[in-house]
Every structure is written in structure tokens, then in C-alpha cells.
Amino acid sequence: MSEKERNLPLLEVRGLKQYFEIDGKHTVKAVDDVSFTVEKGTTFGLVGESGSGKSTIGRSIIRLYNPTAGEIFLDGKEVSGRMTADKKRYLTTKMQMIFQDPMTSLNPRKKVIDIVAEGLDANHLYKTKKEREEMVYDMLERVGLNHEQANRYPHMFSGGQRQRIGIARAMIMKPELIIADECISALDVSIQAQVVNIMKDLQKEEGLTYVFIAHDLAMVKYISDYIGVIHLGHFVEMGKKEEIFNHPVHPYTRSLLSAIPDPNPLTEPTRKSATYDKNAEGVDYTKGKKNFLTETHMVLATEEELARWNA
């Protein structure tokens, strides 16, 4: 661990804010002052309820949005601020996103080979057609698909196979960082297992780094090294996964953990999940400060709240 910690983080996000103006009067603070770092070769899990800002963080980082404030460093180089052609190329070659719905994110009229080669085409990353083909075939094989399937269209594949096409499309760019947004949520348990295994293999072989966004906390726990718990655009708690799962402090984290259904018919039918009502608790996220309980375990709280929650 200490060795890892001396490494430079691959991704560093400082004070990221992403506001959306709705109608001139209303602003949605989808992400409000979020900071975190992700070390090379590790997986950072991002959890929180629907609408908490998870996708927005991912989308701001890969610059589908222009962040309202904050700095983002990728492998030491700043990628926030004004976009330049240079920065854009740097971003797309170093970082890729896998989207939630494999069907809507794959163009139905394109053959698999052309879908997977999208990034290669856009960045002119091959010299001959043959080379392009070989790169795609190679990548398809890596994710457990074969050449013959390269000339088919997305609707001819099962959900799990489509998701693997999405992974191949991201992986072929040889990125160092992949943001996987709910990339397994819509899949069957068994296919989820296939996809997660591929992601883990690739991490081991290529030292890939992941930001893994998901609802399923059992899966997040399984795949992540670090976890950030987000609520209403704020990180309310962050730490190593053992810290989050074994010593949750923030009541929101606790309610989230208690909501995970445990596949045990002996105990689950009578278990009740904990309720968290921010207003009833009198919590104001803008008043809390970041308390570090360990070097890695952060809780957003005022002094009074921290004392109460730790009691």
C-alpha cells in the first residue's frame, strides 16, 4: 500500500462543480465541490442514489460538459479549463467511457467492426485497412467475441455481448482510465459476471484504472479498491472499501448499505432498511467540512455531527 501511495495519481479531481441552468432562474447543482484522486491500476467506485450526480461527474471529466469550476489532472497534466485540440486528443487517447445502455450507445446501422474502430478512425491511429481490421479482431478476441461477429449488426447480439462490444470500443484506444457508468446494471447476473471478469482481467494485464459507477453495492464492493459515496452532488463519505463497508460513519452511507438486499432467505425477509432523511437530521452539506478519520477515510460533517454519528 505504501508503495502505491507514493505513485502519482492517474486522475486527480479538485473542487469540481457542475451546475446546470434550467430556465435562467433555477440552477441545478448536480456536482458541488467534489475532490478525489484515483491511483493507477486501482478501481474507484462511485455510489449514491439516483440523481445524486454520479454520471455527471463522469461526463464532466471526459468533457461531455464544461465544468463550472474545478481542476482535473490526468497523469499529471491539466485537462480542465479551455479545450484545445491538443488537450482533446490527449483526453480521448488516455480516457474512455463505457455507457450504461449498450443498445442506445451503439449505432444500430453500423457493423461491429466500424463501431469498435470509431476512435481509431477519428484519431487516424492506423496506416492501412488491414491494420485497422487486425486491431479490431484482436480486441474482439480479448473480450471473448470472434472475427465472424465483426460484420454483424448490434441487434444480432445478446445484452452481454453488446456490452462487450462497448468495452472493446473503449479498450481499443488503449486508454489508461475507463469510466464505466452502470455498464452492467441492465444485464443478467451471469452476464454481469462475464463482464466484470473481463474488466478485472484487463486491469491485471494492462494496469487499467477504473471509475466504476453502479447501483449494485455488492458488485461495487467486489470490484472497487476505493469508494466515494455521493448524495446531492456532495461526497458525504469516501475511503478504502473496507472503511466504507466496515466502518460507515455518515448516516447516508449507513442507509445505503442497509438497503442492499442480502441473498439469504433466512434473514432477509424480516430485515428492515435504515431511513435517512437529511432534513429531519438537520444536515446541511454546505456547512460540513471534510474530516479525515484516517489518511484515506473522509466524512463530510460539522464537528457536532461527527461527534453524534460517531457516538
Partner: protein, 367 residues
Amino acid sequence: MEDLKEKEVVLDVKNVSISFKTNVGMLNAIRGVNFTLHKGETVAIVGESGSGKSVTVKAVMGIKSSNEKINSGEILYTYEENGEKTTVDLLSFSRKDIQEKYNGKHIAMVFQDPMTALNPLLTIGYQLTEGMMKHLKMDKKAAWARGEELLAEVGIPNPQLTMKSYPHQLSGGMRQRVVIAIAISCNPDILICDEPTTALDVTIQAKILELIQDMQKKRNISVIYITHDLGVVAKVADYVAVMYAGKIVERGTAYEVYFEPRHPYTWGLLLAMPDLNTTEERLYAIPGTPPNLLKKIVGDAFAPRNAFALNIDFEEEPPVFQVSESHEVSSWLEHPNAPRVEMPDALKRRIARMTGAANQKGGAANE
């Protein structure tokens, strides 16, 4: 669960077989499905995508596609009206008849996506009172008052206001609560839930599951619950039916299916799902892909993906073997002459851990 008392059967699904006409041939989606639902109990149907879960329950609701063909079977529904017990075969009615006579009032369904069940142009109040006025012959005022009560019952904080709202003004979790309120508004005997929480996050899911359990206890409703999530199944189900390629390959009490599973497909399904204690390097993934339902299936449909398959699995369809009064398995491994095959060790370890944890802690076993 009092096993000794004679249980009342509400729904008896017998040997139902359904095909779809497609431009490349007949697709045999349901190939002989059997299960029973008792009063006040929950049957969960689990299985891979495309295994036929939705088609099965839609048949109960009388929802049929234009290219759908019922080949055989009965769906016997028993209910009481004016003190008299009646049994009808739902498959013998037209869609219109079922919807007129039974839907809403006797059998109600909650779909995966609440938006498809709600009309975006009508207020929640209108959609909630419509059925009560029709089936329960309530007048508008009484139905409206009852609607507010129902919304409160499903945990909506401001029922008066919500009655006047339109669906898009509510969050996903609130909408699903409204759909549940509509579903229970006419006091159905049977509530069918087809992945009602898949689109929701865990906190809202937990609340909705608790709500359904609560309603069930209060009203003694029988529930059919479809889901991929074995954690959810563990929470709600009395009985579990495991479906594969249009057949139920194993069914039993939740205890039997989770802790004494017999079918290799059930083993695979249980193993593939990580729980909070999973630390194995790799997750188990069932190899291969589901069979093509356009082709005639010979033998056990799971055989090509089954590491434990016997020769006969490729030749002849396995009959149903009765393991206990409530536990049935359709697998040649249960034949008295079959070699003894045990479930994988990883699954044994998990089951030991779960039953052990439950014994130690009795109640909350979340850590």
C-alpha cells in the same frame, strides 16, 4: 408459513406452452410451465433474460401479442364472489373478457417501467380513481378520498397535492409507488410484479419491497414476483421458480432453492451473484449462451452449458423429480441410476456461511 394447514390455491398454472410466429419460424418461448400460487404467499420467478418470465405472467393477465399462439395448458384461477368459490381457466377467455372481468379487480400487475403504466396526460388522481369507480362502483368523491388514503398508505408524503400532479412531476420512486397504489386500489387477490424495482436505486428499492410485503400482510394478497436480483428474491419469496429456456427447471421453498439447490443451472445462477462477502478472484459465469428457441430442443435445454451433463441429457427431456413435497427438479441427475454429483464447493461454502450467519445472529445479518 404453516405447512400443516391445507393451503388455498389461488392460481394453478398447468402445462402452459406458448409460441410466437416470427419471420424465421415459430419461436417456442414457453415449453410447458407449471406452478401454483397459494393465498397470501409469494412466488418469485427467476432466470436469465429471454427465459420466458414476462410471457408467462402476461398470459395470466390476458396480455397477448398478435403473433402469439397458446399451444396448450390451463391457468386456473380460483376466487370467491358472493360467498361462492369459482374456478375459471384464464386461458379460455379473450383478452377483452379478462380485462373487463378480472384485471384490476382480481388480478393486477406492476410493470418494470412505471412510465408505461401511467398516462402522461392524466392526473394521478384521475388514473387512481378510474378503476375504483368502475370496479367497486364508488362515486367520484368517495374514490378520490380513498385515492388519497392509498397514496398515504404507499408512503407518498403529500397525497392531496400528488392527486393533482401529473406523472412527470414525480420522481421514479414516487411514480412506482403510485403504480402500486393503483394496482392495489381494487383489492386484487393476485398482484404480479415484473421487475418493479430494476430501474430504481437500492434505497428506493428497499422501501418499495417493504411496502409490497406490508400490503401483502395487511390484505392477504398473493404475489408473483419477477426479478433478476436474488437478493430481492430472498427478501420477498416464499417459493422460488427457476426458469430456463421456457421451462421451470427447479422450484421449491426459498430455503430449498437457496440452500438445497439440485439443478446445475440453479447452482450457476447462485454462484454468479456476488454478495457482500465475496472475495473470490473471479466470479463464476455460466459458460455459453442460452439455446435458440427457434430450433427444436432435444433433451435438457441446459445440457450444452452444463459441466455435469450426462449422455441422456442430450437425448431425452428430463422428467420432474419430486425431492420433497414442495421441491421439484427437472434434471436427470435426480434419477436413481444417475451418478452422484455434488454442487460446486464454492457454493457449499457460501451456503454454510449463510446458514451459519443466520444461526448466530438470528436477525440482522448485514455485516
